[in-house]
């Protein structure tokens, strides 16, 4: 008898509890979801699983879908920084990037600097791909550039190298703590055939709004990985010492390092 009563009590209490949470709104969970809270950190662990499964399914060379010319129906939508105002960038822009040089260093046999002309004279790849933003939108455009693998072969990557870090001219703020943009990818993505340092967009020179003079395309991940305004590529064995230590501007602000989803 008392079993039934307590059961009923349990049911009413739990129903009231659920209703209470629902009615008081979703801010009930805010406290445990702030950056650095163990609950949030625990849930981030699911991203390791996502990356492991996707990498197992993907294979090293699997190519992202490439589209036909007729599927380019608009310009590439710019996002994030669209007009950097750092002094060194403005100076380069004033001269149409004639004095630009990409620095490649870190764990490489022969650190190097490449002018835009030199990059344009390297083997190139053109691909029409869909850019998927973490915000949810997509845009199809034609990108032309030099495969990153080619650059890595030129400079000779050391055996302990694990990541390519892209250091950029721009910095971002806007609601977040301001900081220089940077991103990192591992060697598997760095050597992927579609990973290119793009200097051309839709048959023209890459515009400033889209990352002139050089941006990276990483077609199997989301847009925030594809750093624009690249000044330097640093090859490293870990990125813990860089900026916030999470391997990218957005990663330092709570986003996942692996952005395949």
């Amino acid at each position: 008898m008392s079993r039934l009563v307590s059961r009923r009590k349990f049911l009413t209490t739990s129903a009231a509890g659920i209703a209470g949470v629902a009615l008081s709104g979703c801010d009930q969970f805010d406290a445990v979801l702030r950056g650095g809270h163990p609950v949030r950190d625990f849930m981030i662990g699911a991203n390791e699983l996502t990356m492991g499964v996707q990498r197992a399914l993907l294979g090293r060379e699997a190519l992202a879908k490439e589209f036909s010319e007729s599927e380019i129906r608009q310009g590439q939508r710019p996002n994030g920084s669209t007009d950097p105002n750092s002094e060194d960038y403005l100076a380069l822009k004033a001269n149409d990037f004639a004095d630009y040089a990409l620095v490649v260093d870190g764990l490489v046999a022969a650190p190097a600097r490449y002018s835009l002309a030199e990059l344009r004279n390297m083997p190139s790849r053109t691909q029409i791909t869909r850019h998927d933003c973490v915000e949810g939108w997509s845009c199809i455009a034609k990108w032309t550039g030099v495969p990153l693998a080619h650059i890595l072969d030129e400079v000779g990557v050391q055996a302990n190298a694990r990541y390519c870090v892209f250091h950029c001219f721009d910095s971002l703020g806007g609601g977040f703590s301001r900081g220089p943009y940077y991103e990192s990818i591992d060697m598997l993505d760095a050597r992927h055939p579609q990973t290119i340092l793009a200097y051309g967009l839709n048959e023209e020179a890459l515009p400033v709004a889209n990352g002139a003079p050089l941006r990276v395309r990483i077609e199997r991940q989301l847009g925030y990985k594809m750093a624009k305004y690249i000044r330097r590529i640093e090859v490293v064995d870990n990125f813990a010492r860089l900026h916030g230590g999470n391997g990218g501007y957005w990663e330092d602000r709570g986003y996942e390092w692996y952005a395949g989803i």
Partner: protein, 285 residues
């Protein structure tokens, strides 16, 4: 309080009470409640993610220089001052000030698709919305797998979920009974129940999971056929959102049915497994 009053809600007073029967296995009950938790967090973290770009489109990409949108929430300045929130659905613009597009207070206006009380976290935080969403998505899929295997072996699928010829024949009569709010309490599921659960398990859950995966650039490369099935990434996003609406609708109907059919009896069967059936209905029929 005596046990008799405690059970008054179980059956309608004019009826004689039937016996308690063991209706829901431990597999059904545990997975049910895990889904409740998962779907709760998936829904509200999903609305957080939607808010990062509160427009849905049809096709591979989002039209910025042309219009292929089907739903959009945004704020606009009113001619007389202040702001208004608008939701545009298939070209029809609806003023949804205070809820969609524009919410908050005058002192603290918020320009966002869904209001803060419908998102996790309540403030704008796409990164955390994604963390919560993907965490519970994995649990949902894992538990769905456990449920499917268990339900296959314990007969729940065959007995209670997959509709059979007899169920389709019984459907008109069953629908008429539901429409009159007359609910049978049998050990087995009725035709409408079977159809509703089959629809959710075999159509809506697979659709919402697979369209979710279709938004992943990694999965697009691993399984390139998947996104084509749904007609492109932006269509997949729209279907994902629509499937969410279907689940919300299912939830509302589900709760209404539980309340109308006798909430104590229904809840007890999903917590302890024991269900009080109408007299003479102890067998699965």
């Amino acid at each position: 309080m005596s046990a008799t009053t405690g059970e008054r809600d179980d059956t309608q007073p004019h009826r004689t009470k039937g016996p308690l029967v063991y209706r829901q296995s431990i597999w059904t009950r545990v997975t049910h409640w895990v889904w409740v938790i998962c779907l709760f967090f998936l829904l509200f973290s999903g609305l957080q993610i939607f808010n990062a770009h509160p427009t849905l489109y049809i096709g591979q990409e989002s039209g910025f220089e042309y219009d292929n949108s089907v739903l959009s929430m945004h704020a606009e300045r009113r001619p007389e001052g202040g702001y208004a929130g608008y939701t545009t659905v298939l070209g029809n613009r609806i003023d949804t000030s205070g809820v969609f597009g524009y919410s908050g207070t005058e002192a603290n206006p918020e320009f966002r698709g869904f209001p803060s009380w419908l998102t996790i976290p309540s403030y704008r935080d796409l990164a955390t919305g994604r963390v919560v969403h993907f965490f519970f998505a994995w649990i949902l899929v894992g538990v769905l797998f456990v449920w499917a295997v268990a339900s296959f072996f314990n007969g729940h699928l065959r007995r209670d979920i997959v509709p059979k010829g007899a169920d389709l024949k019984a459907l008109p009569a069953d629908a008429a009974e539901h429409a009159r709010f007359r609910f049978r309490h049998h050990k087995g599921y009725n035709a409408l129940q079977k159809l509703a659960y089959a629809f959710i398990f075999f159509i809506v859950f697979p659709a919402i999971i697979l369209t979710g995966l279709s938004m992943s650039p990694g999965m697009n490369t691993a399984w390139p056929w998947l996104i084509e099935v749904f007609g492109g990434r932006q269509t997949a996003r729209t279907i994902h959102f629509t499937a969410m609406l279907v689940l919300v609708l299912f939830f509302i109907v589900h709760i209404v049915m539980v309340v109308l059919a006798g909430p104590i009896n229904e809840l007890r069967s999903m917590i302890t497994g024991w269900y009080r059936v109408d007299p003479g209905k102890e067998d699965r029929s």
